[in-house]
């Protein structure tokens, strides 16, 4: 029995579905609050091929919510920390890391693009690149105690968020700041994003924009579905 089979034997998936997850290339942009949990979930589900994008290093203020923020990884580039974490779970993984992401980034053979970022400019760049490459874009966002997750497979991101089309400057949408993010909000957004990505890969139902999964961990009814835009 191989190490892979033994490690992921308890995934309630068919051989074909497990193989699809194993061979698919997942591109993740941002390895902070949501991105770290996206990566962790995909690793635990047996994904072995990743493209990881992040320009940042871990700092102390990341510790409240970011899966990979530990004393061992403090001041380390997030992509390096991610590789160490991934290798600790599965030594056979293939990871390409990049310190920068924009609309011209090379997604190589990625089957899906997952969003672990916290700003609308990067999200728009991801949506546009995914559209150009004809791959699904898994949108996730967490702020405070709330979050949103959906999958863009045709519906325009600009329409969903009422953003300017073309190359108009988006500065007024960026850098609005927020009081912070509670860890369960970041982890829920990341976990839902990873699960939706796997559903796309193995052909299970998934949420499609403009519909989205909304949640607020401080509400009595934690999850609900609604339309964006």
């Amino acid at each position: 029995m191989s190490f892979y089979r033994e490690k992921f034997l308890r995934n309630p998936l068919s051989k074909g579905h497990q193989a699809a997850i194993r061979r698919s290339v997942f591109a993740i942009v941002g390895l902070g609050g949501t991105g770290g949990f996206i990566l962790e979930n995909l690793l635990r589900m047996g994904a072995e091929n990743f493209l990881l994008f992040d320009h940042d290093r871990f700092e102390l203020s990341n510790f409240n919510r970011q899966m990979l923020a530990t004393d061992d990884f403090l001041d380390m580039p997030k992509v390096h920390a991610a590789v160490i974490r991934a290798m600790a779970i599965n030594k056979n993984i293939n990871i390409k890391t990049f310190g920068h992401f924009d609309e011209t980034s090379n997604l190589c053979s990625a089957a899906i693009l997952l969003d672990g970022t916290d700003n609308i400019k990067a999200k728009l760049a991801m949506a546009r690149l995914a559209r150009k490459e004809k791959i699904p874009y898994i949108f996730s966002s967490a702020q405070g105690t709330r979050g949103i997750v959906t999958v863009f497979v045709g519906y325009r991101f600009e329409k969903a968020f009422q953003l300017p089309c073309g190359n108009k400057v988006l500065d007024r949408y960026a850098g609005t700041g927020c009081p912070g993010i509670l860890c369960p909000a970041a982890s829920l957004a990341g976990t839902l994003a990873a699960s939706q990505a796997v559903n796309v890969i193995i052909g299970k139902p998934f949420i499609k924009a403009p519909e989205a999964i909304f949640f607020d961990i401080f509400r009595k009814k934690i999850f609900w579905k609604a339309k964006l835009g």
């Binding site: 700092e59 102390l60 203020s61 850098g175 927020c178």
Partner: protein, 96 residues
């Protein structure tokens, strides 16, 4: 004066980030120097925490400095603050 960038940190942070271009910081020297100007509230081999004139500084050995407080990225105040901080670190010989 060393080259550096003043950039906007992650959205959940209020303040600025200053990043040295291809330079690192000797945290021991930085701590000794900044202790004369403010209060060193914590230190480890990779990070030095300093309270200085109403700002909270996290200075990392890799050459990045997070400045938390009433300062906005892109402002003149941010530029002046970065200049003064780099100058203070240079004078202590902390920039490697």
């Amino acid at each position: 004066m060393n080259d550096y960038y003043v950039i906007e940190p992650c959205q959940s942070a209020k303040g600025i980030e200053i990043r040295l271009k291809d330079k690192k910081i000797d945290l021991k020297k930085a701590g000794d120097g900044l202790a004369r100007l403010g209060e060193v509230v914590g230190s480890s081999p990779v990070v030095l925490l300093v309270k200085l004139k109403g700002y909270s500084l996290s200075i990392y050995a890799s050459g990045r400095m997070m400045v938390k407080g009433n300062v906005k990225p892109g402002s003149k105040k941010a530029e002046a603050l970065a200049f003064r901080l780099i100058d203070a670190l240079e004078k202590t010989g902390a920039i490697l």
